[in-house]
């Protein structure tokens, strides 16, 4: 068995989630859009799942659109927001968003949109004054994360949303890393659109959802059939939807115990910082998700650390999984203005409800020697 501390990359499908899905991967294979009751009965399962997801978010079931992943949710939200106010050509986002936001914004810049990328300070926090200063009457969309995938730093979404609202801009939140880890109540929030992804909260890969506030003039991104009340074409991913519903239900229960994850995370952080010199918690001074820590190990390189951890059966990451093919340092840590010694040597550990104290102890046991060995190789050590 591995020690899996890479839950911000993806999570284990909860066995109860899989159990809920299985009938829809075998006997109950009908198409919910079909006219026969064999297909129709599946429709009821989808509506139950919609209620479960809505309940986790404090939303209404009709405000939930099922789709295929967080990236689709982000792409869809941006396009929908621009379509809702086509005369406005300005977007505000942050420098530390996920590629599924940044790549769309870069693309739109080529199409004549103006994009403001808000900066973050060394703790990974936004400056709301900078946001206010960037807002104009031509701002169609403000899109920010709820919590950062690399550092876990939480943005003040309520305040950001209030500012967006006062300028008549749509506010979209990429909550892929936040859903299931912090309580969210959209009923009382200024958030218009919110993205979540199943596989980050113990549902399977290949399913996601987009929250669209009731009354929002939504335009679909994937065009075709009338599924999801014409808001997302494509035959329903019934097992995935049922799984996401169950996962949402379980996440809601688990939210009450998330403090345990934070305690294990703190134990990990404290252990590393006290036993290994020249280490620092990136974003440590800011409000953070309970499950995430991003630690900089000076003078050594992240990939080398990961391979050493890998040999011990410990899964962690540097940067986000979907950019791990790239050799550039994390755009998030770069935006935080961290020194090079930290930029190239930072590791993210992300816990889940399955993480045990024994696993944390294992990391604390092996980590000092790994760092020592790599530092012994490094020309920069003790320079």
């Amino acid at each position: 068995m591995v020690t899996y501390l890479d839950n911000n990359a993806t999570t284990r499908t909860d066995p109860d989630v899989l159990a809920a899905m299985l009938p829809y991967l075998s006997e109950l294979y009908g198409n919910p859009s079909s006219m026969h009751s064999f297909g129709g009965q599946v429709g009821a399962a989808i509506e139950t799942a919609r209620e479960q997801v809505a309940s986790l978010l404090g939303a209404e079931p009709t405000e939930i659109i099922f789709n295929s992943c967080g990236s689709e949710g982000n792409n869809t939200a941006i396009h929908a927001a621009l379509a809702a106010q086509p005369e406005k050509r300005h977007i505000i986002t942050t420098a530390v968003e996920h590629p599924a936001i940044l790549a769309v914004c870069k693309h739109l810049e080529k199409r004549g949109y103006q994009v403001t990328y808000l900066s973050v300070n060394s703790r990974g926090e936004l400056d709301l004054m900078e946001l206010e200063a960037a807002m104009t009457g031509g701002t169609a969309l403000v899109t920010t994360m709820y919590a950062n995938n690399e550092t876990g730093v939480i943005f003040p979404v309520e305040q950001i949303g209030a500012i967006a609202q006062s300028y008549g801009a749509t506010y979209h939140v990429d909550a892929v890393q936040a859903v299931g880890k912090v309580p969210i109540n959209l009923a009382t929030s200024p958030i218009d659109l919110l993205t979540l992804s199943g596989h980050k909260l113990h549902a399977p890969k290949g399913i996601g959802a987009l929250y669209v506030r009731k009354g929002f003039r939504f335009r679909p991104f994937l065009l075709g059939g009338h599924q999801e009340r014409g808001r997302r074409a494509g035959t329903h991913n019934v097992p995935g939807i049922v799984g996401l519903g169950k996962a949402a239900e379980l996440a809601q229960i688990h939210l009450a115990h998330v403090q345990r994850e934070a305690e294990l995370r703190d134990m990990l952080e404290h252990g590393i910082l006290t036993t290994i010199p020249d280490t620092v918690v990136n974003g440590g001074g800011a409000p953070r998700l309970p499950n995430t820590t991003n630690i900089g190990f000076k003078y050594i390189e992240g990939e080398a650390i990961l391979f050493m951890l890998n040999r011990e059966g410990i899964c962690a990451s540097s940067g986000s999984a979907c950019t791990s093919g790239s050799l550039d340092p994390s755009h998030v840590l770069t935006a935080m203005g961290l020194p090079y010694t930290i930029l190239h040597g930072s590791i993210r550990f992300s816990l889940s409800r399955y993480t045990t104290e024994a696993e944390i102890r294992q990391v604390l046991t092996v980590m000092p020697e790994i760092v020592e060995r790599l530092r012994a190789l490094s020309p920069f050590n003790n320079d």
């Binding site: 390189e301 090079y340 010694t341 190789l377 490094s378």
Partner: protein
């Protein structure tokens, strides 16, 4: 996950010839080091050579590397390859030779081997007193040079 060969992983987990070389202050023996990259670009290699002056050959080689798995393995491989070679022979070693010694490198990681070749050149040129271009910024901090100077060589290596 990078697709590293067994050899890369072996030399990463158990690198040989790591460290520095003390100058023994003996006649006919010189110690030099060559350096490429910087902490800014995420890769840096300091290659130490012990040279027998009469035969113009490499008696010992050691490395210090800040970098990824393949950078560490490439450095270690390089020191193995060049030991016993004359300096002229060593100058003919290409990054492809390093990659071959390692049983291949992922395409995106070829530059890690280029770094080895460049450090070797830097060390030998320094020993021979040949000026090498320095890629220093106005304020004296190294800018990211490993891509700039390596781009063509990487292409050559991949082609």
């Amino acid at each position: 996950m990078w697709d590293y060969s067994e050899k890369v992983l072996e030399l990463f987990y158990n690198p040989i010839n790591q460290g520095t070389i003390d100058d023994p202050q003996e006649p006919d023996v010189a110690v030099v080091y060559g350096e490429v990259g910087s902490i800014a670009c995420g890769d840096a290699l300091r290659l130490h050579l012990k040279i027998q002056q009469s035969t113009d050959s490499i008696l010992d080689a050691r490395f210090q590397t800040f970098g990824c798995t393949s950078a560490i393995a490439s450095s270690s491989a390089l020191t193995e390859i060049i030991k016993g070679k004359t300096l002229d022979e060593a100058l003919h070693i290409t990054n492809q030779d390093i990659a071959d010694f390692l049983g291949g490198l992922p395409e995106a990681k070829m530059h890690c081997s280029v770094m080895g070749q460049e450090a070797l050149e830097a060390a030998i040129y320094k020993y021979r007193g040949i000026e090498v271009e320095h890629h220093e910024d106005d304020d004296g901090t190294l800018v990211c040079t490993c891509y700039g100077i390596s781009e063509k060589k990487i292409r050559r290596a991949i082609a």
